[in-house]
Symmetry: C2
Subunit: 144 residues, 2 copies
Amino acid sequence: MDDIDRNIIALLVEDARRSYGDIGSHVSLSAPSVKRRVDALRRSGAIEGFTAVLDHSAMGDATEALVELFYAPGTLLDEVAERLASHPQVVEAWSVTGDADAVARVRTHGNLELERLIMELQRDGSVVRTRTVVVLSRLVSRRN
Amino acid sequence: MDDIDRNIIALLVEDARRSYGDIGSHVSLSAPSVKRRVDALRRSGAIEGFTAVLDHSAMGDATEALVELFYAPGTLLDEVAERLASHPQVVEAWSVTGDADAVARVRTHGNLELERLIMELQRDGSVVRTRTVVVLSRLVSRRN
DNA sequence: AGTGAAACCAGTCTCTC
DNA sequence: GAGAGACTGGTTTCACT
């Protein structure tokens, strides 16, 4: 992983559909060389894949929230992760320090669906309590 | 925006470097038709772009945290957004309901840089208080 | 909105350095 | 590790439906 690799990654973060030749002209390398490096970066796991960046508000998912989750003592993380992942509205979730045990970032069509989701999360065994903050607006959103 | 568009979007979220022909064979459309739909989805803003998904822990950014920010009354959101965006470690930030005014998701090389970042955020005018939870592990991470 | 044909461009492989 | 060249396959435009 050298500066050229980091440069290639930056170019692919900016636009994942760039051609190898185009990337090569930015980093002074031929297309095959760029392909070899990108293949290596994917194999090493530094690049996990390529995805489309969506405008969810333009697609009906207008409500975002952070749900803090409090679990009963002795609850297993894998179990928690599995239950959270089973809800398609849970976009991201982390196990955290602090008074809550985990935080889930969720996206729903509106407050009604958010309310229903929170109740479902509370019914998923071992959840003792939740505390939700609703996202009013997105202040920063970096592509990486 | 019909079911075919939603299908095309799902395929591009899964792999943004898929060819139009490949997408077409999944949605029973020719490559040129798929291209026109993708162009339209980009123009409408539903698709904001295409990016590489990185493994940040494999690249030295091992520490993630959520920093709750409390601002002085009357602080302007645009100002807050600009100041947060000026720190490259701030990956995402939202204005939220609840007792905190905003939450920033940050990524640093380690606890030392996190500590320094929190102190810098506190020095950015109008910040009255911060409260930080450190991410212990990633439980769910959906690509969308 | 869609298709198929055609020209053009990009991806990928092998070989050589 | 990198480039050149050749082959394969993808992208894009156009005429047509």
